[in-house]
Symmetry: C2
DNA sequence: TCACTTCCTTGATCTGGGTCAAGGCGGCTC
DNA sequence: GAGCCGCCTTGACCCAGATCAAGGAAGTGA
């Protein structure tokens, strides 16, 4: 399963792809021949789920590859006693799929209404075999994914609650940030889901959001909307000075 | 970077590969033509490091791909204030490398004396481009890696200290387990390194090892050798009943 | 408009694991 | 074999974040 990319895809790749089907744009770059585009277009279909629905249960068969068109979903793993950890966040342009394996190690759940662009396993794996360019793009995406996952290990193992919440908000805001601030984003996760993603409890997430608001780092507009006038303030709270240096 | 595989490689893949150079065995399966074997053999070389040495600094150029021949190394990431998290464990037959990127996101450090089988980046990437079979094997390894990393996220985010230490010992023992017990393994990491891997402190690791010994789950022979008569006891402490069900 | 639900916030208290400090135990050197 | 050094263990205490508990706010349906 390949997912959780917190940077937006390159604009130069989207413009000549179909924007409603990001995998086409992501898998095939501008100088490719059209054959692969046509093949991808022919095998795709769309499906939507409501917020809160489960797309795939942990350990259940996974009969498709897909990319997120709109909305947000999570990947999670659970222990038998109910403890649960979200191990990946799926946002538009992210990819779902695990070539060569038929069942999902993770539960996939919609946290908002979500629409996927689906490819059946069989034809998609054939395309992978026949098109080195698509295959190598998938390898690249998997390795980016691995880097993002390892970065999250550092967060889970070593960061404080405040740093965790700040890092999460910063990652979301950067993904949607355009031009200059103030930056605004709608949280695609409930407090409970944020907690499950950050290895915290819902109460701690709530308290840290309140503290960040009182410290003037962010503003909250309703329950789901976060506004940040200066991403550097947030980066300073995230425990990661490198992240700060990379800001616009 | 692709690493941390806690299962031994398939015996059917090793027998006809050269055992001192596992990537050849891992990348090329029995029914492949010999050309790829020859190409891999031609480009390889060997290099060794002493325990405690740094192979690659965090953020430094990574000019090779490699597989571990013997010994143990770690991948780690650090925050600026010195907090550090090991994000991957490299044991014999594991692969190091990040096609398409020239610098390492992680520090790579030898925790015991270690020998690598090295491939220069250029020729290795050419081989990847020309040999779909080797490329698809690398994708498979990357995805296994991603699964292992996400499993570790569940450990870091949700398990107790006792469960973390038990899970770590179980993973090590399973990797070397053959036939029936009692199982014995030499820890490739110091207490400090184990702590850095599990998101704990050295004192907590030490205390949990003592408690597991007093509970009769493990025996310790010297500082580095762990003996476990019954892996099911350890699995019961690991918080993961599925792991227990999969034991021999 | 009122009951009901779901999700969030805030306060009070508890505790697992961190921190600080004091040895113990080889292995090495001279 | 004495002194030293690196690594590990153990004890005492502390604190960040978990847990428990009590509302608040916003939506929904009758």
């Amino acid at each position: 399963m390949v997912v959780m990319k917190l940077q937006p895809i390159s604009p130069s790749l989207t413009v000549n792809g179909c924007t409603d089907c990001p995998i086409r744009a992501r898998a095939v770059c501008a100088d490719c021949n059209d054959t692969e585009l046509v093949k991808l277009d022919k095998m795709k279909s769309y499906k939507s789920w409501k917020a809160g629905e489960t797309l795939v249960h942990e350990g259940a068969p996974l009969e498709f590859a897909a990319s997120i068109v709109s909305g947000c979903a999570t990947l999670s793993r659970s222990l038998e006693d109910g403890r649960r950890q979200i191990v990946g966040l799926l946002l538009p342009s992210d990819f779902i799929g695990r070539p060569g394996r038929t069942r999902s190690e993770y539960a996939i759940e919609a946290t908002t209404d979500v629409t996927l662009c689906l490819f059946r396993r069989g034809p998609f794996e054939t395309l992978l075999r026949e098109s080195p360019r698509v295959a190598s793009r998938l390898l690249e995406m998997s390795l980016d994914e691995l880097d993002a996952t390892r970065e999250w290990m550092l967060l889970l193992g070593r960061k404080t609650a405040r740093e965790k919440v700040s890092t999460f908000l910063l990652a979301l805001l950067r993904r949607t940030a355009t031009g200059v601030g103030p930056y605004r984003t709608d949280l695609p996760l409930s407090r409970e889901e944020i907690a499950t993603f950050l290895g915290l409890t819902i109460e701690t997430v709530s308290r840290q959001l309140t503290l960040l608001r009182k410290a003037g780092v962010i503003e909250l507009d309703g329950l789901r909307t976060v506004i940040c006038a200066d991403l550097h303030l947030l980066a300073a709270e995230s425990g990661d000075e490198v992240a700060e240096a990379l800001l616009p």
